[in-house]
């Protein structure tokens, strides 16, 4: 309900702004503070809708734009999911190692943080050399998506796995020690369940990163089929059909919605482990 209202409001905002603001936007001291409202920059919503129904090319039997976008979104979603899964696994593994061994934490944590300081634009050419013919073309895309996804998971999971150390002055850790069982028993029965409140937001962040990473990598490698490729293709023909450029954006929003829904479902399934519900 609220979601539908939000979409409607966004639509009114778009058209309202387009009607009210001057064609050239607002320029103050040489800086454009409000965007242009020309049909090229901000097409009418009905133009967007109309263009969605048109075939993407003049070739006979060319599919309509909406179908191409939907397929692109599906393709990107698959790659983003693969990247997310890899990233989550790597992130969890790193977090377990860092939680288990203080020395490993001291060594690994700086590198984990450093990995994200390097801009993606510098990493992409190393992972995805467009000229390399070996291997599957989607591998670099998944690799880049997981590279962006593992980070929040490793940090969030580490925070979660070590949360019992500080919780109530280490009461739970003392308790498990008194039970006389090893670290792994404590991990499965205490640290892992206790990490859920930290893990869920980390998984959401990882999903957002994986989607963004996938699309950027698709743009970079020009991998056919995904939203990234549509951005490239439609950008090239922007002058002819400005409305089309907006469709990959809407596709990306669709992908984001899908991941959000799935993770919201997971959060509901795990609500017993979340403090609001539990304490």
């Amino acid at each position: 309900m609220a979601g539908a209202a939000g979409v409607l409001l966004l639509g009114f905002g778009w058209e309202g702004y387009k009607a009210a603001a001057p064609d050239d936007g607002l320029v103050l001291g040489g800086v454009r503070v409000l965007p242009r409202t020309t049909d090229a920059a901000m097409p009418h919503l009905w133009d967007l809708a109309a263009s969605a129904g048109e075939p993407v090319s003049s070739a006979a039997g060319a599919p309509p734009l909406w179908l191409v976008t939907l397929r692109g979104a599906g393709s990107s979603l698959v790659l983003a999911t693969a990247g997310w899964v890899c990233g989550v696994l790597v992130g969890l593994l790193l977090a377990v190692v860092m939680a288990r061994l203080a020395r490993a934490r001291a060594v690994l944590l700086p590198w984990v943080v450093l990995s994200q300081v390097v801009p993606l634009i510098a990493v992409a050419p190393l992972v995805a050399r467009p000229d390399s013919a070996d291997g599957q073309p989607w591998v670099p895309v998944v690799a880049i998506a997981s590279y962006l996804a593992f980070f929040p998971v490793s940090i969030g999971a580490l925070r979660g796995f070590t949360a019992p150390d500080d919780d109530r002055g280490g009461l739970y850790v003392d308790l498990f020690r008194s039970f006389g069982v090893g670290w792994w028993s404590g991990f499965w029965r205490l640290r892992l369940p206790a990490s859920v409140p930290y893990l869920l937001p980390a998984l959401r962040l990882a999903a957002a990163n994986a989607v963004a990473g996938t699309i950027v990598a698709e743009v970079y490698t020009g991998l056919p089929g995904g939203l990234g490729r549509l951005i490239v293709d439609f950008g090239a023909s922007a002058a002819a059909d400005p409305a089309r450029q907006w469709s990959p954006l809407l596709g990306a929003i669709l992908v984001g919605l899908a991941t959000t829904l799935v993770l919201a479902g997971a959060a509901t399934g795990l609500r017993r482990y979340r403090p609001g519900e539990a304490r």
Partner: protein
Amino acid sequence: MSRGASEDLEPDANPGGGPAVAPDVGQAAVPDAGPDTSPLPEAPAAVEVRGATREFPADAGSTSALAGVDLAVGEGELVSLIGPSGCGKSTLLRLIADLDTPTSGTVAVFGKTPAQARADQDYGIVFQEAGLLPWRSVQANVELPMQLHGEPAVTRRTRAQSLLALVGLADFAGHRPHQLSGGMQQRVAIARALARSPRLLLMDEPFGALDELTRERMQTELLNLRAATGAAVVFVTHSIQEAVYLSDRVVVLSPRPGRVVDTVEVALGDPAERAQSGGALRGDRAFFELTSAVREALHASGRATATT
């Protein structure tokens, strides 16, 4: 799995199942487990602490928490530790539990090292906070230690249910901890500590966060539990009344660094008798004299330290 006398406790020892006290819980099951049962000469004491010292190194000098503490707790005996805040009561309990190690001196639990006793699950521990896992049901919390040690599900379930009955929470097995009052949560923590049938129970101000009325009820329940299980108890408290009501012996510690300054023997009958006389006992002349003796010892220790 034939360690504790509590193995014998009847699942329906508290048929009512309500939180009310069942005065003669499990008494028949363990006829000779009273505190007066002197330990057999060859049996090692439940706890034997000799010259235990604990210093916490700090940037500026070091904090001495314990300075040469001697303590002996016999099988089935309940000994209270009382002393001013910060005198090292919790530290001493943690040494016995192998949650911490002494800087010097020795600790033996049933004649073993504390580490061995912990590995053998010879003790159960209860802290001031119940420390229940919020995502587990009450019953699953009691089952936790048994689950961690790979006991079969059926055994776990029956034992957890009989323990919950023993602490008067049979009807709350399916509840979650946050649905329980503080006193009920602490009862669950006690049931959990008893899950592995320990012969020793370590309790660090277990009733410290409870209101006076609940506290007195819990004290009586603890007496009944002792009668039922025959476990030795080391009980840390700030309350003189509580110490006297529960204990066979009250050990008074000096202000930091803690050392034993006095020991008050409490001869008020066995736990079951005390539980039955309940409120009446607290009004007794003998009870009053014992609390005065403990109070006097506490004040004397404070003065002694102040002047030295």
